[in-house]
C-alpha cells in the first residue's frame, strides 16, 4: 500500500509540475518535452488506477505520435512565443476581473446544486466490475456497441475536417515537372532515337 501511495504522489507531483512548465517554458521545444513528461506520468497514474489499456494508449498514441508531431511542427514553424505574449500583461487586469466575477457566479450556482435523486437509477452506462470484464473489453463495448452511433459520427466529422483542409488550401501549381511513369514507359524508340549513319571524314 505504502509503495502505491508513494508512486501516486510522485507521479501526480511530476504531472502537475511538468504541466506548469509546459505553459511557463520560454522555449517551445522545451514545452513539448515537458508535455511528453506529463503524458508519461499520467500513464503511470492510469496504471495505478488499474486502467492499463488507457496507460498504454497514452504512451503509444500521445507520446509516440501526437507529441512527436507537435515537436516537428514547433521546430518547423519557428514561432516567437515571447512576442505572442506581449499583450498578456496589458489584458491581465480585465481578464482577472471577468474571471473572478464568473467564478463567483458559478460558486453561487454550484452552492445551490441539487443532484436529482433519480441519478443512481438513470446512469446510462455504469462501470462494469473490473473482475468480470477486462479493461479493453469494457472500452470496446462502450465505444463500438453502446456508443457506436456517435463514434461513427465523430469519424464523419474528422473526414469533413480533412476534406475542408484540402479544399481550402490545396492549389495545383502550373508548370511543375512531375514524373509521369506512364509517359516514360510508353515512349517509343522512334520518338527519342535517331540513327544517323556517319560516313568517315564527313561528319554529321
Amino acid at each position: 500500500m505504502i509503495v502505491q501511495a508513494i508512486c501516486f504522489w510522485l507521479f501526480a507531483a511530476i504531472t502537475v509540475a511538468s504541466g506548469a512548465m509546459v505553459v511557463v517554458a520560454r522555449n517551445p521545444v522545451h514545452s513539448v518535452l515537458f508535455l511528453i513528461l506529463a503524458f508519461f506520468n499520467a500513464a503511470g497514474l492510469f496504471v495505478l488506477m488499474g486502467a492499463e489499456f488507457l496507460a498504454l494508449i497514452l504512451v503509444i498514441v500521445y507520446v509516440g505520435a501526437v507529441a512527436v508531431l507537435f515537436l516537428f511542427v514547433v521546430m518547423m514553424l519557428d514561432i516567437n512565443f515571447v512576442e505572442l505574449r506581449e499583450g498578456f500583461l496589458r489584458y491581465l487586469p480585465v481578464g482577472v476581473v471577468i474571471g473572478v466575477v464568473l467564478f463567483v457566479e458559478l460558486l453561487l450556482v454550484f452552492g445551490a446544486w441539487v443532484v436529482a435523486p433519480e441519478v443512481a437509477k438513470s446512469i446510462a452506462a455504469p462501470m462494469p466490475q473490473p473482475a468480470e470484464v477486462s479493461n479493453t473489453v469494457a472500452l470496446g463495448q462502450l465505444l463500438y456497441t453502446r456508443y457506436v452511433y456517435v463514434f461513427q459520427a465523430a469519424g464523419m466529422i474528422l473526414l469533413v475536417a480533412m476534406i475542408g483542409a484540402i479544399v481550402l488550401t490545396l492549389r495545383s501549381r502550373e508548370g511543375v515537372r512531375k514524373q509521369s511513369i506512364a509517359r516514360q514507359v510508353g515512349r517509343k524508340r522512334s520518338e527519342t532515337l535517331e540513327i544517323v549513319k556517319v560516313r568517315p571524314r564527313e561528319g554529321v
Binding site: 441519478v119 446510462a124 452511433y149 459520427a153 465523430a154
Partner: protein, 482 residues
C-alpha cells in the same frame, strides 16, 4: 457479447454519408471539364432518394441505437425540408460556381455531409448525438462559407463563422455538462423523466438549460446572438447564403423545439420567458436594422433574423398549435428564401455580380418576369395576403393567441408592419425608379425551374393549403405524446 443495435431507423443518414463518400471518390478519380456539374446532379439525385427514404420509412415514433436516435413524424417533416433546401441550393450553385471559377465537386460533397449532420441533429435524442450532429453540420458549413477562397470577403465570412460557431458550441457543451451534472444522463427520455420526478427546480439545471438555449440561439441566429449573421451572409457565395438561410436554420430550429419541448418540457415556465425575450428582440431588430441596408444579401440576413423571431413565437407558445405554426412557417420560409436568392443570383452585369439594392431600379421595365417573381417573394416575406407568407405568420400568431400570449402576437403584427417597409421599398425601386442598367440575360434552365417552383408554392398555397397544413398538424402531434 452484446448484439449490435438496430441501425435501420438511421438508414437515410447512413445512405447520405455513404453517398457523400462515394461521390468524393468519384470526383477525385473522374477527369474532365464537367466533373463538378455531374457530381452536383448526382448529389441532387442522392438528396431526392434520401427524401424517398425518409418518407418511405416514416412510421411510428421509434427510439433506437441505445436511445441516441429518434425517428418520428416531426423529424420526418423537418428532414424533408432540410433535404429540399439542400437540393435547391446545389442546383443554384452549379452555374454560379462555374461562372465564378470555383466549379469544384467538393461543394456537393460538403453540402451532402452538412445535410447528414442536420438529419442527425433533427433525429438526436441525446445531448451527445445532438452535439456531434451539430459539429458535423457546422464544420462543413465553415468550409463552404469560404469556398471562394480567393475572395477576401468569403474567407472572412468563413473565419468569422468558425470563431463564433466554436464559441457557441462551447456554450452549448458547457450547458450540456451542467444538465448532465444534475441529471446524470444525456438522454432526452430519461432527462424528461428525471425532471418530472424531481420536485422543485434546481438552479444548476436552469443555468444549464439557459446555456444550451444560448448555444442553439446562436445557431438559429436569434438576437442577441445574431452578430455573425450579416457578415457571413454578405461574404459567403450567394448559393451558400441561400443554403445557410434555409437548411441549417431549419435543422437548428427543429433541435431547439425538440430539446425545449421534449426534454425540458416540464420546465416550460422556466424557459418560456427566455424564448419570449429572444423572440421579441429578434423581431424588433429584424424589422429595424434592415431598413438602412444597401446590400441585398445583408438585408436578407436581417430579414432572416426577424423571421426566426416569428418562428420562435411558436416555440414560446409551447403547444402543438405552436409547433404546427413553426413547421408551416419554415416550409413557406424555405420557398420564399430560395426564390429570393435565385433572383439575387440573376443580378449580374457583364458577368459580374451586383448586390446593391439600387441596382434593381427599373427591373420591371428591363426584365418584367424577374421583377414579378421578386415582387411576389417580397410581398410574401412582408406577409401580405393572399401570398403564402401571410399564412405562415397567421398560424404563428393564432398559436400565440391560443396560448394567451397576446402581447407577443401584437408585437409580432407591429414588427411585421414595420418590416413590410423595406420589402415593399424593393418593389417600389423595381417598378417606379428609372432603370439603372440591364442584367445579363439567360439565367439558365435550372434557375428558371427553381424560380418557377418557388413562385408556384408561394402563389398557390392559398388555394391548396391542405397538404402542408395537414402534414404539419400530424407531425407536430408526434412531439406531444399522450
Amino acid at each position: 457479447m452484446q448484439a449490435l443495435p438496430n441501425f435501420l431507423p438511421a438508414l437515410p443518414e447512413m445512405f447520405l454519408a455513404a453517398s457523400a463518400m462515394a461521390l468524393l471518390i468519384l470526383g477525385v478519380f473522374q477527369k474532365g471539364p464537367h466533373v463538378a456539374r455531374e457530381i452536383a446532379w448526382l448529389g441532387v439525385i442522392v438528396l431526392v432518394a434520401a427524401i424517398a427514404l425518409v418518407t418511405g420509412f416514416a412510421g411510428e415514433r421509434q427510439v433506437s441505437l441505445y436511445g441516441m436516435f429518434i425517428s418520428d413524424g416531426f423529424g420526418v417533416f423537418m428532414s424533408v425540408l432540410v433535404l429540399l433546401g439542400a437540393a435547391f441550393s446545389i442546383v443554384m450553385a452549379i452555374r454560379f460556381n462555374e461562372q465564378e471559377g470555383v466549379a469544384r465537386f467538393e461543394y456537393t460533397v460538403l453540402v451532402l455531409l452538412a445535410v447528414t449532420g442536420m438529419l442527425m441533429m433533427i433525429a438526436a435524442n441525446d445531448l451527445i448525438a445532438l452535439y456531434l450532429g451539430l459539429e458535423l453540420q457546422n464544420l462543413a458549413l465553415y468550409v463552404i462559407a469560404s469556398f471562394q477562397r480567393d475572395r477576401t470577403r468569403s474567407s472572412e465570412a468563413g473565419l468569422k463563422y468558425f470563431v463564433l460557431g466554436a464559441l457557441s458550441s462551447g456554450m452549448l457543451l458547457y450547458g450540456a455538462s451542467m444538465v448532465y451534472g444534475f441529471a446524470g444522463t444525456t438522454n432526452f427520455d430519461v432527462l424528461a423523466r428525471t425532471i418530472d420526478a424531481t420536485n422543485g427546480v434546481s438552479i444548476g439545471l436552469v443555468t444549464g438549460i439557459v446555456f444550451v438555449a444560448v448555444g442553439l440561439a446562436f445557431k438559429v441566429s436569434a438576437v442577441p446572438f445574431h452578430m455573425w449573421t450579416p457578415d457571413v451572409y454578405e461574404g459567403a457565395p450567394t448559393p451558400v447564403t441561400a443554403f445557410f438561410s434555409v437548411a441549417p436554420k431549419t435543422a437548428a430550429l427543429a433541435l431547439f423545439v425538440r430539446v425545449m419541448i421534449y426534454a425540458f418540457g416540464e420546465l416550460v415556465d422556466q424557459w418560456q420567458q427566455v424564448i419570449m425575450a429572444i423572440s421579441v428582440a429578434s423581431m424588433i431588430l429584424g424589422a429595424l436594422a434592415a431598413i438602412n441596408q444597401r446590400n441585398i444579401k445583408r438585408l436578407m440576413a436581417y430579414s432572416s433574423i426577424g423571421h426566426v423571431g416569428y418562428a420562435l413565437i411558436g416555440l414560446a407558445a409551447g403547444t402543438p398549435a405552436g409547433v404546427r405554426g413553426i413547421l408551416v412557417y419554415m416550409t413557406i420560409y424555405l420557398f420564399m428564401n430560395i426564390g429570393t436568392f435565385t433572383v439575387i443570383l440573376c443580378m449580374r452585369r457583364q458577368g459580374r455580380l451586383v448586390e446593391d439594392i439600387g441596382d434593381l431600379a427599373g427591373l420591371a421595365r428591363t426584365q418584367p418576369m424577374l421583377a414579378a417573381a421578386l415582387g411576389i417573394f417580397m410581398f410574401s416575406l412582408a406577409g401580405i395576403p393572399p401570398l403564402a407568407g401571410f399564412f405562415a405568420k397567421f398560424y404563428i400568431f393564432m398559436a400565440a393567441i391560443d396560448a394567451r400570449l397576446f402581447w407577443l402576437a401584437v408585437l409580432g403584427v407591429v414588427t411585421s408592419v414595420v418590416g413590410a417597409y423595406y420589402y415593399v421599398r424593393i418593389v417600389k425601386i423595381m417598378y417606379f425608379d428609372e432603370p439603372a442598367g440591364v442584367f445579363d440575360r439567360g439565367i439558365g434552365r435550372e434557375l428558371q425551374a427553381v424560380l418557377l417552383i418557388a413562385a408556384a408554392v408561394v402563389l398557390l398555397f392559398v388555394v391548396f393549403p391542405a397538404p402542408i397544413i395537414g402534414s404539419a398538424e400530424q407531425a407536430s402531434a408526434t412531439l406531444f405524446p399522450g
